[in-house]
Amino acid sequence: MGNVSIRDICTVIRSKQAGPFRLTFDLLFKTKQLYEIVKMSGAISKRQIADLYRMPEEKITDFVFYDPGLALKISMVRPKVAGDPGDGDVYGCQQHAPLLGLKLSLPDVTGDMMK
């Protein structure tokens, strides 16, 4: 179990469709310092995201840190195409919720950094 809640180190945690066949997730970090710590630590991994969403890892098409936006971008193949029978989220904008529960192991992060 990690010591830092993802909610305390991000300004944005969102999901959206990227075309009807893909879902994409953006995590924008509060500061360059927090962003760098997360990026270097490997505390978030492709494997972990795949497990969280019950997805085979090869369905995660992108897992990219984006320095100019202090962001982590994750994209995956949608289990159902947007708006297909049984799909529940055409825009894909409510698929981020499980990310909000992530706890990361970041021993270097102090309370001050998250203010």
């Binding site: 300004t11 944005v12 959206k16 469709q17 990227a18 075309g19 009807p20 066949f21 893909r22 994409t24 953006d26 924008l28 969280l52 969403y53 019950r54 997805m55 098409t61 992108d62 990219v64 984006y66 100019p68 936006g69 202090l70 962001a71 971008k73 994209s75 289990p79 159902k80 195409v81 947007a82 708006g83 297909d84 029978p85 049984g86 799909d87 529940g88 989220d89 055409v90 825009y91 409510q94 698929q95 919720a97 499980p98």
Partner: protein, 451 residues
């Protein structure tokens, strides 16, 4: 030209703020562009051909930009009109433009750039070479083309430039890359393609990339030879490096690469700089041309008629055994319609319990105190969908389950009618790349005088 100035009033039909449009026009733009749609809104709009926004909202947004651009004699470019850019939507857009012209005493020339694709043309192309998938799971087939309700191709800057070349004051385009709507004028004037497209990618959402972000607000850009600067006309809004850089991520699968017709915009060397409190400078985005020019084609197929029913469940005894009762109701309904002519699908969504995430939901065992049940039937005809939905509704309404105490009914209806026919439904099935020798060949242009 030393610089190109561009105004984005936001998305056409969203309800663009006329005050911000007026302020943006005072910055003296060389053109105004508006995105009027997307395929994000789902397959229905591409298939049914109806506008996403009501005509009254579209006209309200058109009037101030038409007045402003005609008065200044600068082009207005509208793309993805007016949802997904198929012919029916484009014709509706044209008639709305005509109404606005008539009601406001305006006269202007419009170049209509169409994007709907002919099935025989695509089949001929398919005989020449395989058509590879982009997002779709496999190569395009003749059956995919035959069963499509509508197919459009997404244009790049070239057909838009050709539209501008006609001298029309308004370029009304079908399905188009949103960034191309803003990049066409600068690229026509010889400005850098990578910068022009990156500018377009941020501009297309109006002030959504600002602080505070607003769907209804404007954004202005100054494009120079080696950079561009963004500023929202409204003084209480600002751009920050973080807000602009993070918008670069939005709705796309990779932040460093923005593929489009004819190439890919490489944003890995892009730099962002805060010029002052409200303005951001951007440079370094590089356009890399593909060896083969490819267009994205998008298509949907008709897959039935939908009827829905919404009912709330608050009884904890029923909620504790809801899965069993829905299975029983489904079996009962299937038995009843066993010999009916036509196919159908029956879907129960339990809002409050994994209706939103489906297969991606980690917390499947959660038991809520109330449930929103959505009964959804998709059938070959609307009559059949209506009949099955009504029967399934009645079966659940009066399900007599073990331990039942509430024998008056199981569903709290939010309104009457209980069942609602939703009309035809469509599914995306074409999302492929079509190699082209001429980037304009799929996009015929006609020029009309409106008054």
């Amino acid at each position: 030209m030393r610089e190109i100035r561009a105004l984005s009033p936001g998305k056409l039909g969203h309800g663009c703020n006329p005050h911000e449009i007026a302020m943006g026009l005072d910055f003296n733009p060389h053109f105004v562009a508006m995105d009027a749609g997307s395929t994000d809104i789902g397959a229905y709009y591409l298939g049914a051909g109806v506008p996403f926004f009501p005509p009254i909202s579209i006209k309200a947004d058109l009037a101030p930009v038409l007045h402003g651009t005609l008065k200044r004699n600068i082009p207005l470019i509208i793309g993805n009109a007016i949802a997904t850019g198929n012919n029916r939507q484009l014709d509706t857009a044209l008639s709305l433009l005509e109404e606005v012209a008539r009601e406001n005493g305006l006269r202007f020339k419009v170049a209509v750039v169409r994007s709907e694709q002919d099935k025989d043309y695509l089949k001929r192309r398919l005989r020449e070479q395989p058509i590879q998938p982009l997002g779709a799971p496999k190569e395009l087939t003749v059956e995919d083309i035959d069963c499509a309700a509508t197919i459009v191709a997404q244009m790049g800057v070239e057909p838009l430039i050709r539209g501008l070349d006609t001298g029309a004051q308004v370029v009304l385009a079908g399905r188009a890359c949103d960034d191309a709507l803003f990049a066409a004028v600068p690229i026509r004037e010889g400005f850098d393609q990578g910068l022009a497209l990156h500018m377009g990618k941020i501009m297309e959402c109006g002030s959504m990339s600002c602080i505070p972000g607003d769907l209804h607000g404007s954004l202005f850009a100054w494009l120079q030879r080696d950079h561009f600067i963004l500023e929202p006309p409204l003084k209480t809004r600002r751009c920050s490096v973080h807000s602009i850089a993070s918008h670069t991520l939005y709705e796309r699968s990779n932040p460093y690469l923005q593929p489009g017709p004819g190439g890919i915009n490489d944003l890995s060397t892009t730099r962002f700089e805060q010029v002052d409190e409200r303005r951001v400078k951007i440079w370094g985005s590089k356009w890399i041309k593909d060896p083969v020019y490819k267009l994205k084609i998008e298509g949907v197929r008709f897959s039935g008629y939908r009827t829905i029913c919404i009912g709330g469940i608050r009884d904890p005894i029923l909620i504790s055994r809801i899965d069993e009762e829905l299975s029983a109701a489904e079996a009962n309904t299937r038995e009843r319609f066993r010999s009916c002519q036509g196919n159908y699908q029956m879907i129960f969504r339990q809002y409050g319990r994994n209706a939103v995430m489906g297969a991606l939901e980690p917390e499947k065992e959660y038991v809520p105190i109330e449930l929103g049940l959505l009964i959804e039937i998709i059938a070959d005809t609307q009559e059949l969908a209506n009949a099955i939905c009504m029967y399934a509704r009645g079966t659940i309404q009066h399900a007599y389950y073990p331990g039942i105490l509430a024998t008056a009914g199981n569903l709290a209806y939010p309104f009457s009618p209980f069942t609602v026919p939703c009309g035809p439904m469509y599914q995306f099935h074409i999302d492929h790349l079509l190699p082209m020798e001429d980037p304009c060949a799929c996009f015929p242009i006609e020029v009309l005088n409106l008054k």
